[in-house]
């Protein structure tokens, strides 16, 4: 305990340098200080992937150099057209991760960390877009087994269960209310139990006042 207090005290003497007065410097010039301070340059070529660790916390110092515009141009849209390498067709900047024909390749890119889409998009964004396409138009692997026109899977074939566990977000994009899932998984019809092992039913019941449970269970039965 004593050592920890001494350590904390020594640390507190070595306070962080405010970066506001350096905000106009070029990134390469930052190294002149950071090199000797033993601090890794944070704005390297890995910045797009790595900046979440720096920015996604209370007390971050991003605003000492950047306006919120700098974050939101990618996260929520915007763009004043200053950077020629950025595209903003459709009113808002598209980050470079959304390259080439992103509409078509996004099912592949979305696999590279499935959480990354939700850092900027609400699930409604996905379902709004998918709802504009006729049902049966999407090339979903587990849906192709009975032919591209049928677009129906057979639970006996089993692949949809594996696919859903790995990539449940993609189910939600086309079936936001889970209406298709309930056809087979509802307890009202004695369907297959979809819950994970150790499912904390009470936690979910309390948070939605039972509304989610009642989609599959009769009132008073959960």
């Amino acid at each position: 305990m004593g050592c920890a207090l001494v350590y904390l005290q020594q640390q507190s003497y070595a306070e962080k340098v405010a970066h506001k007065e350096y905000s106009d410097m070029e990134i390469k010039e930052c190294n002149s200080c950071h090199k000797s301070e033993g601090i890794a340059p944070n704005h390297d070529s890995d910045f797009v992937r790595g900046h979440r660790v720096l920015a996604s916390k209370a007390g971050n110092n991003c605003n000492q150099c950047h306006e919120q515009k700098w974050c939101l141009d990618c996260h929520q849209g915007g763009g004043t057209g200053d950077d020629l390498t950025k595209e903003n067709f459709g009113r808002d900047y598209k980050p470079k991760s959304h390259r080439s024909d992103f509409i078509t390749i996004h099912p592949i890119k979305a696999q590279d960390n499935p959480q990354s889409c939700y850092r900027c998009h609400d699930t409604k964004y996905c379902s709004d877009c998918h709802s504009r396409f006729p049902m049966g138009n999407m090339r979903i692997k587990s849906h192709l087994m009975l032919g591209p026109n049928g677009q129906k899977y057979s639970f006996a074939l089993g692949e949809h269960a594996t696919e859903a566990r790995r990539n449940l977000q993609s189910c939600q994009a086309c079936h936001p209310d889970g209406d298709v899932c309930i056809q087979c998984h509802s307890a009202k019809i004695g369907g297959t139990n979809p819950h994970p092992r150790g499912f904390k039913a009470g936690n979910f019941r309390d948070r939605s006042d039972g509304k989610v449970c009642q989609k599959c269970h009769l009132p008073g039965s959960f």
Binding site: L8, Q11, A14, E15, K16, H34, K35, E37, I39, A40, S45, D46, V53, A55, A58, G59, E67, Q68, K69, L72, G77, G78, T80, G81, L84, T85, E87, N88, F89, R91, D92, R99, S100, D101, I105, P107, I108, K109, D112, N113, P114, K124, Y125, C129, A164, R166, N167, L168, D177, P194, H195, P196, K200, N203, F204, R207, D209, K211, V212, K215
Partner: protein
């Protein structure tokens, strides 16, 4: 419509403040007037619009410059398909910092980041600092999110959060936070987050962040990483990340069993000299139940002469989810002091499944920017897309920027 009113409020406030000669505040910002033509993939119609993007900062309102206002929004008018006005207010907030040298206040629409959750809110954030080694933050308000057509927020969408974090330590960051989100059906999210970063031996950074989802009682996300930098020009990165698909508790999807996603990353970033920087990386992705994928990545930034910059990035992905093979090449040339020229290509060869076979997507673009004066510039950027949907699809933007 509410958004359009808010944008008008932003623009009106600018004019009002600017015309108040007796007022000593400084108003700075950028007006970006744009002419856009692009293909609306949903209607399959060419959309042509005029847009006004306004970024605004008001400072030096009080003697100590503690109070500032920041705003940013856009308004577009379709001139071809009769879609009319479209607007979006990205942020508009007042910021008062260092009240009694201990409290920072921010009210209005703003982007808030905690380890436990991130939100764009119409509300407030209060930070209590300089009260010891730990500082505190609390935020709350209407949860703002956008769907395809604009703001998708409904009347019962709210977000709240609270955080405690270490303050003033040069080589240590740590934060613990709680984030809660409401929607019309109840508590949609409540999760605890933690983030920690520590520099060691002047050449190592270790870092981690995690989220714990309270309803499922699961650690929904964990990232643990280490960066080793023997010099500031050479950085080795190793990371492990895992996550579970997490849904709002008010969604039926929250009750389904899901598989864990894991990812291991190794990469090297090396700035060889002022002219060349390179990076290579490899990620191993594991989707559970025997599905995995490999991603290789390589890139470089070359500046053979001061006026010319070339950026090249290539990655190759194979495994679960499909094959993807492609990248981006860009050239930026400062032809004269006021004139910048740039061009680039995006190229991807991909195969989503065996039935589709290999397909190709290409995007070519070219642009130029001319600085008319110290506070004025004009730019033009056009691109042509060749892909499975379009043999040729021209889109572009013409921009006039005025800084004030």
């Amino acid at each position: 419509m509410a958004i359009k009113r808010k944008f008008c409020l932003l623009a009106g406030a600018t004019m009002l403040l600017a015309s108040t000669a007796a007022w000593s505040a400084e108003i700075h910002g950028r007006s970006s007037t744009q002419f856009l033509w692009f293909n609306d993939i949903f209607t399959e119609q060419k959309q042509v619009e005029f847009g006004e993007y306004l970024n605004l900062s008001v400072s030096k309102i009080d003697k100590d410059n503690k109070l500032t206002f920041q705003g940013y929004g856009r308004l577009t008018q379709d001139v071809r398909n009769g879609e009319g006005l479209n607007g979006r207010l990205y942020y508009l907030y007042g910021d008062y910092h260092d009240l009694y040298n201990k409290v920072d206040l921010r009210f209005g629409r703003q982007f808030v980041n905690y380890a436990a959750g991130t939100a764009l809110i119409d509300g407030g954030k209060i930070d209590l600092k300089n009260v010891g080694p730990v500082a505190f933050s609390v935020m709350g308000g209407r949860n703002v999110f956008f769907d395809l057509n604009g703001e998708g927020t409904r009347s019962n969408d709210f977000a709240f959060g609270v955080a405690a974090y270490l303050q003033g330590f040069q080589k240590t960051d740590a934060e613990v936070s709680y984030f809660m989100k409401f929607d019309k059906d109840g508590i949609a999210r409540d999760q605890v987050g933690a983030s920690v970063k520590q520099y060691l031996f002047n050449s190592v950074k270790v870092y981690s962040d995690a989220r714990f989802d309270m309803p499922s009682e699961t650690v929904s996300e964990v990232l643990a990483g280490v960066k080793y930098f023997p010099t500031s020009d050479l950085i080795f990165t190793g990371e492990w990340y895992q996550s579970y698909p997490t849904f709002d508790s008010t969604s039926i999807y929250s009750i389904f069993a899901v598989d864990r996603y894991q990812e291991g990353v190794f990469r090297v970033d090396y700035t060889i000299n002022d002219k060349i920087g390179v990076n290579v990386g490899y990620s191993k992705q594991d989707y559970g139940e025997g599905a995995d994928a490999d991603v290789y990545e390589i890139g470089c930034r070359i500046r053979p002469i001061e006026k010319l910059q070339v950026n090249l990035n290539y990655d190759k992905r194979s495994g679960y989810g499909g094959q993807l093979n492609g990248g981006i090449a860009e050239v930026i040339y400062q032809a004269t002091k006021p004139l910048e020229l740039a061009a680039g290509i995006h190229f991807d060869v991909y195969e989503r499944d065996r039935l589709t076979g290999e397909e190709t997507a290409r995007k070519f673009w070219v642009g130029g920017k001319y600085k008319l004066a110290k506070n004025m510039s004009a730019s033009l950027r056009v691109e042509d897309d060749n892909n499975v949907s379009y043999a040729s699809d021209w889109q572009g933007r013409a921009v006039f920027n005025y800084d004030f």
